[in-house]
């Protein structure tokens, strides 16, 4: 366990260093933007990692909410499967396809994203039973906020020389990312200020409402034009194949890094809860060495 973590962190370090070298030195310089464009290799992988982590948080929160009620559990499972199947099918209807192309999205990309919902839902439920779902939710929200912050900081740094402004108010991508960040910061605040016993349920409920909010944020700024470059994967943006290689390499490195941080945060949270439980047991007069409800051994996230 410990050795696995060590080996993985060394590998991640090497990968990050190599990806950085590729991004800063080896990748071709963009013709019009120059070296500023290289921030793209940090901005885009951070964004993908952050959205993935928020997605995990949402799925884990739903699983946690329905955990105690078998009827709700079945209902949620089939809702997810239904959304996945119908959503993936709908993406290829001609009318929807046209709409998607108009906003610069490929139907296949949407279909894949929607299909990931039931897949994640079923896998997370299997891998993270009971309280571990909540531990996973905290972990993914915290690390997700960090990556999202990187996105929000690197974006303006790039926009100032290229667009001439730091921030484009009302832009659909910028605003929705900012609102997502705000929602998850309020989620972390709630976790911090809440009393220990009820936090998990309240936080899960907040995460679900936050996830419902995201499509509405998108809808609410529908009228505004976006200045943001079209997405290069799953969108209509185009990119030099060498740049694409470097981008994907950087994403892999960032994913490994994100996974590493999540891993250690997950273990820390489990350990913290175990200590709290031991204290609670002690104050009840039970021996401290009572079997913990969440044994740490074999706790691979």
């Amino acid at each position: 366990m410990k050795r696995g973590f060590l080996i993985f962190s060394v590998l991640t370090g090497i990968l990050l260093a190599y990806a950085s070298y590729q991004a800063l030195v080896a990748a071709p310089t963009e013709r019009t933007m120059g070296d500023v464009q290289r921030i793209f290799y940090y901005h885009v992988p951070s964004a993908w990692t952050a959205f993935l982590l928020f997605f995990i948080n949402f799925v884990a929160s739903i699983q946690y909410l329905v955990r105690t009620k078998p009827s709700a559990q079945t209902a949620a499972k089939w809702t997810f499967i239904a959304i996945g199947v119908t959503g993936a099918g709908m993406s290829f209807l001609p009318a929807v396809e046209q709409q998607l192309n108009a906003i610069g999205m490929r139907p296949s990309a949407l279909a894949t994203t929607v299909l990931l919902l039931p897949v994640f839902y079923l896998l997370l439920g299997k891998w993270f039973p009971g309280e571990r779902l909540d531990v996973l939710a905290v972990t993914s929200a915290e690390v997700g906020v960090v990556f999202c912050t990187v996105v929000l900081v690197t974006g303006p740094l790039w926009a100032r020389p290229v667009w001439g402004i730091w921030w484009a108010p009302g832009d659909i991508r910028l605003t929705s990312t900012l609102v997502l960040w705000l929602i998850y910061v309020s989620y972390l605040l709630l976790r911090r200020f809440s009393n220990s016993a009820q936090t998990q349920m309240l936080a899960a409920a907040l995460a679900v409402s936050g996830a419902l909010d995201v499509p509405l944020v998108y809808f609410s700024i529908w009228f505004f034009r976006t200045q943001h470059p079209q997405p290069v994967i799953g969108g209509n943006g185009s990119i030099d194949p060498r740049m694409m290689q470097v981008l994907l390499l950087n994403w892999l490195a960032f994913l490994c890094f994100g996974f590493l941080v999540c891993w250690s945060r997950f273990r820390l949270e489990l350990l913290k809860r175990e200590v709290e439980e031991a204290y609670a047991m002690e104050s009840l007069g039970e021996p401290v060495h009572a079997a913990p409800s969440m044994p740490l051994k074999g706790s691979t996230p």
């Binding site: 909410l65 609102v179 705000l182 929602i183 910061v185 309020s186 605040l189 709630l190 200020f193 809440s194 009393n195 016993a197 009820q198 349920m201 309240l202 409920a205 907040l206 679900v208 409402s209 936050g210 419902l212 909010d213 509405l216 944020v217 809808f219 609410s220 700024i221 529908w222 009228f223």
Partner: protein, 229 residues
């Protein structure tokens, strides 16, 4: 004692009646909201001093910021009132449906905030020399739907922040981020009606969608929040 559990509507009506009677006798929430939003109007009018055309562009934002902040004052008191004498605990162990309490509280807050808006709107008109260029009746659905969005969110998050260490501080921190699409709809919709630059239908549909989605979600989640132990 062997009666069937009371229906959702009868419990909701009883709670609503009790809340309105309490408010009618004390006028705590309404008075503080009114005075608070009056202060906001006055301070804003000092700091901007706009022309009629300019005020049309900014008043949509001002009005809703004033009502949003004022509503937080009332929302914070919604559940705090039930904590005294352990009323909320008694409610928890009773067989009455949890959603009845939620519906009653939302309706009560909705009425208070609508009364506040009805009283404050003339003041905004006077202070900012407003004249509506679009079709003014559209302001009514925007106000009703927007207020519902604020109140349904606020009541839910007030119940949530009841369990936190710094109750009063927590509510706006939870409420504002989630309400951003609704606030955007209200402000942009109001501005669209005042200036008649673009149609306001889109914002009415947006607010309606927002209300439907979140009312349904909170009716599903409220029981968990009430019983979270």
């Amino acid at each position: 004692m062997n009666e069937a559990p009371a229906s959702l509507w009868s419990v909701a009506a009883a709670t609503l009646k009790k809340d309105i009677r309490l408010e009618w006798r004390s006028k705590d929430a309404l008075n503080s909201m009114l005075f608070f939003s009056l202060l906001v109007v006055v301070i804003f009018s000092f700091s901007f001093d706009p022309l009629a055309e300019e005020s049309r562009l900014i008043v949509g934002g001002l009005v809703w910021v004033a009502f949003l902040f004022a509503a937080v004052v009332a929302l914070n008191q919604t559940w705090a009132r039930e904590l005294r004498n352990q009323v909320l605990d008694a409610y928890r162990v009773s067989p009455a449906p949890a959603n009845a309490l939620f519906v009653a509280k939302v309706l009560g807050n909705f009425i208070f905030v609508i009364v506040l808006e009805a009283l404050m709107t003339p003041l905004f008109v006077i202070f900012y020399n407003l004249r509506v260029l679009g079709s003014a009746w559209q302001l009514i659905p925007i106000a009703l739907l927007g207020t519902w969005a604020l109140v349904v969110n606020g009541t839910f998050f007030a119940a949530m922040s009841l369990r936190t260490r710094n109750r009063e501080l927590m509510l706006p921190l939870l409420l504002f981020p989630i309400s951003i699409p609704a606030v955007l709809g209200m402000v942009a919709g109001t501005t669209a009606v005042l200036t008649a630059d673009n149609p306001a239908h889109f914002y009415i549909v947006l607010l309606l969608t927002y209300d439907l989605v979140f009312t349904t979600a909170y009716l599903g989640l409220f029981e968990t929040i009430l019983h979270a132990e």
